[in-house]
Symmetry: C2
Subunit: 226 residues, 2 copies
Amino acid sequence: MGSEAIDNCLKAIYQLAGDDERATTAGLAEQLAISPASVTGMLKKLSESDPPWIEYQKHHGARLTDRGRARALEIIRHHRLIELFLHRVLDYSWDEVHVEAEKLEHAISETFEDRIAHVLGDPEFDPHGHPIPRRDGTLPDRADSDLIDMEPGTDAEVSRVSDHDPTMLQHLSSIGVRPGVRIHLLERRPFDGPLMLRVGDDRAVHAFGARLAGSIRIRDIRSTAA
Amino acid sequence: MGSEAIDNCLKAIYQLAGDDERATTAGLAEQLAISPASVTGMLKKLSESDPPWIEYQKHHGARLTDRGRARALEIIRHHRLIELFLHRVLDYSWDEVHVEAEKLEHAISETFEDRIAHVLGDPEFDPHGHPIPRRDGTLPDRADSDLIDMEPGTDAEVSRVSDHDPTMLQHLSSIGVRPGVRIHLLERRPFDGPLMLRVGDDRAVHAFGARLAGSIRIRDIRSTAA
DNA sequence: ACCTAAATTTAGGCACGCCTAAAAATGGGC
DNA sequence: GCCCATTTTTAGGCGTGCCTAAATTTAGGT
């Protein structure tokens, strides 16, 4: 019960559709990098397993059951704890952690999970700013919003960045963008043009295109306590 | 190239037959806990792979090629580094490490291997006293011999203990037997009877039957420098 | 309401890693 | 040197997880 393929599928449904929305066959095929036909087969299996991992209606996508959600969150907890562990304890760089965690998340025991959580001091966020699900399935919340929606002329703090593209992480790292860093949006160029912004105390102005900006979430600055 | 099943098979050949002896189909079936028929299929595949992992003659067992040996040693290096890491960094007990390492040895990257080796100070022996192969495929050597062959009336130091049975490890731990501990053999009871010996500074005398004694290796005491 | 394009499912196939049952090779005792 | 017990291999099968190609269903535009 709970092969790697199943775990990856549940995780993908959670990531695409969240707690109680439905994920589409095509979306899952893209996320998992397998054919739509293979996804259909997997969804059927997941919904017919006893007890079922998902609710599935043909042609209308899949929604996680309580059990499915619990499993997805467990895998995501593994993934994010491992990322933080690799970064803090084994000195992995920001962009190296994701690939390694993708394999290890399926291999570690609950004991391993507990031990690294303890060594790390029961952390709430991973190196990219993503919340680490708790063992009880709840998520630490940090109210944040898309960088795309930020008001020109205001300040904000980087909350999290997508971890899927290592080259993007390298680039962000090279210009100083990390969770916790303050940014100032100067202007938004017209016709969906780039966002012009400053990072931290750096005077340089950077242009963020849609791809890059879309991978970043921010939160309002608490206080400008210098 | 290099699935988990293949790695386990190469490791089993190395453990049963060593560098340049042949392992039998039956032996491998036992070690891997699969049927002899499945072993035959696996051996054929391993010998026909390009380049081959093993030399295989029907009805005459399998011998590792250079490539096969290198891979086996790499997996064993992973296993033993992980055992030591779990013990030292994540506070696993002696008897817990083997099972977890058995899964993780297949999941970690070369980077992970290097980082934990570095954190641990490039160790040469795992928590059970087994030598950790170096990256170049050489083995740290510690001349040791079977406890069974120890001379009554002499002292020795525990060199290594088998890690396959957690309950045996728990028992050994409870009476203080660990690599590095000094033991004194009082007598060997007749007709393959138990070995009567003292452990460390403990006055108690313990009886070691064949199974237990067979899982322990010792080395001559260097000097009785109190 | 229909018709078409897109999304999805069905059908059939393949590699892996295991199984059991039956056939064949080996080698030790006589 | 032959025979029999043991070991090993062959033959055929099963579940998983993926594939492609063809059939089907859905949903959007008119």
